[in-house]
């Protein structure tokens, strides 16, 4: 029955989450009923395989529940699209509010209601437009007929592997923060910095502005991967390798940021943390700027260490997952022999 489990798992990848459990339970019941009626209580592997071939490719079975044609974003992708669209709108509004807050209360700027509405009219549709384009591309490649596809072979279905299960909330959290950060660096990079006291002077961070393009690439790639993971519903070899690749890129960008802050601080004779503390007493205002930059450097250094740990964890999971599938494959061969 392992083949049935693998088939059900694969069909589930293409069914919206809300109805997935119900549809899959019914599909399982139908498959088992058909097997029992045709072959009795203990069907052979070949008989199961023949039945699955008759039922058709998992993607086609799922599509029969939700016809995909004639949609920009089809029913399978729509729940994910709707969820991400709300995250994007919330992130844009949140980032806009933060930017206005900093502008008004810190820099003492004033914004008219018209200006605020004009800004929202620009940022919200632009963000949603990009989101729609991304999903249209996903939809197009998913719905594209595979004319030269290999013959449908149930034995090629992916193994059931708990290591590939996705921690959905982890991915959604990553997506929320990723989108929020991307909106901030795209629309309001001038407001990334720090203040000493409420209403006090605002210091933009010059190093972040230097590496803005690299940061945007890292954030966009991270959002893309998280979207893809939510769409696929589980880890695969390619996504694990992609995650490791993106993390290595993140380490590179974070290292540049740490080095950049280091050079900036050293040039002001405040390379060490204590130097900045001493500077506060000497130069009242400039000292705080050094402390702020020290805090940014510390935050990026921590992020760098966390990302390195994440890379090592991902490599460990990848090796464990590979060993497990090798073990199952060997077991399957032994059983056949």
């Amino acid at each position: 029955m392992n083949l049935i489990d693998r088939y059900i798992q694969e069909v589930g990848r293409y069914i919206p989450r809300r109805k997935r459990g119900d549809i899959l339970a019914e599909l399982r019941s139908l498959l088992v009923d058909t097997l029992e009626d045709r072959f009795g209580q203990a069907p052979s592997e070949t008989q199961i395989e023949d039945l699955l071939k008759e039922f058709g490719r998992p993607r086609d079975v799922a599509a029969s529940y939700y016809p995909q044609s004639q949609y920009l974003v089809g029913p399978t992708l729509y729940p994910l699209f709707r969820m991400v669209a709300w995250i994007v709108v919330a992130a844009v509004l949140g980032a806009q509010a933060i930017a206005w807050g900093i502008g008004m209360f810190v820099a003492g700027e004033t914004f008219s209601t018209l200006e605020m509405i004009a800004s929202l009219v620009n940022s919200v549709p632009v963000s949603l437009g990009w989101l729609l384009i991304t999903f249209m591309v996903l939809q197009y490649f998913d719905a594209k007929p595979h004319l030269e596809e290999d013959p449908w072979d149930p034995q090629k279905l992916p193994e059931i592997n708990p290591e590939q299960d996705l921690k959905r909330w982890e991915v959604i959290t990553g997506l929320v923060f990723g989108i929020l950060a991307l909106v901030l660096v795209t629309f309001f990079p001038q407001w990334i910095g720090f203040i000493t006291t409420p209403g006090g002077k605002f210091y933009p961070n010059p190093i972040i502005l230097d590496y803005l393009v690299l940061i945007k690439i890292a954030l966009t790639a991270g959002i893309g991967l998280n979207l893809f993971l939510l769409w696929r519903g589980r880890w695969a070899l390619t996504t694990r390798l992609l995650r490791i690749g993106l993390d290595i890129y993140d380490v590179f960008v974070l290292a540049l940021l740490v080095i950049g802050h280091n050079e900036w601080l050293t040039a002001r004779s405040a390379g060490g943390f204590l130097d900045a503390i001493e500077a506060i007493e000497g130069i009242a205002d400039g000292g705080w700027e050094l402390v702020g930059m020290q805090a940014f450097r510390l935050a990026f250094a921590v992020a760098l260490i966390v990302t390195v740990i994440e890379i090592l964890t991902s490599i460990y999971r990848l090796i464990k997952s590979r060993l497990r599938s090798d073990f199952s494959a060997k077991n399957a061969v032994l059983k056949v022999e």
Binding site: I23, A25, E26, S29, D33, T34, F55, Y65
Partner: protein
């Protein structure tokens, strides 16, 4: 020539279209008493109407969404099964559709008979 026509893809499509139209009525007609999916497929097959599983289940769900069927999981047997049965609205619809069907088949018989006799 005739065989080639029967085998042609176009003919298959036409047959599929013809059958698709009657599936709703066929399924509703068998669900006065509750049945699970496979039992319904078997019941239809016994009476000469083969229907693919991939077609039936989405159809049952659609009819349920339209309020013509109600369903519930029964876990008492050897394994859980989802049983479907006509709702009040489904029973009325079946009655109406059956009337329409009889009228249509009457008309079609006339049309085809006229055609076979070389009439208008």
């Amino acid at each position: 020539m005739m065989m080639a026509n029967v085998q042609s893809e176009q003919y298959q499509k036409l047959t599929q279209e013809l059958r698709r139209g009657i599936l709703v009525l066929a399924a509703l007609s068998q669900l006065k008493e509750e049945k699970y999916g496979y039992a319904l497929i078997s019941s239809l097959a016994e009476k000469g109407l083969d229907i693919e599983q991939g077609t039936l289940y989405p159809l049952l769900r659609r009819l349920e969404d339209q309020g013509l069927l109600v369903s519930e999981w029964n876990v008492e047997g050897s394994r859980p099964r989802r049983y479907y049965v006509l709702s009040e609205s489904g029973r009325n619809t079946l009655q109406d559709l059956a009337g329409d069907w009889r009228q249509l088949t009457g008309v079609m018989e006339l049309l085809l008979a006229a055609n076979a006799n070389g009439g208008e």
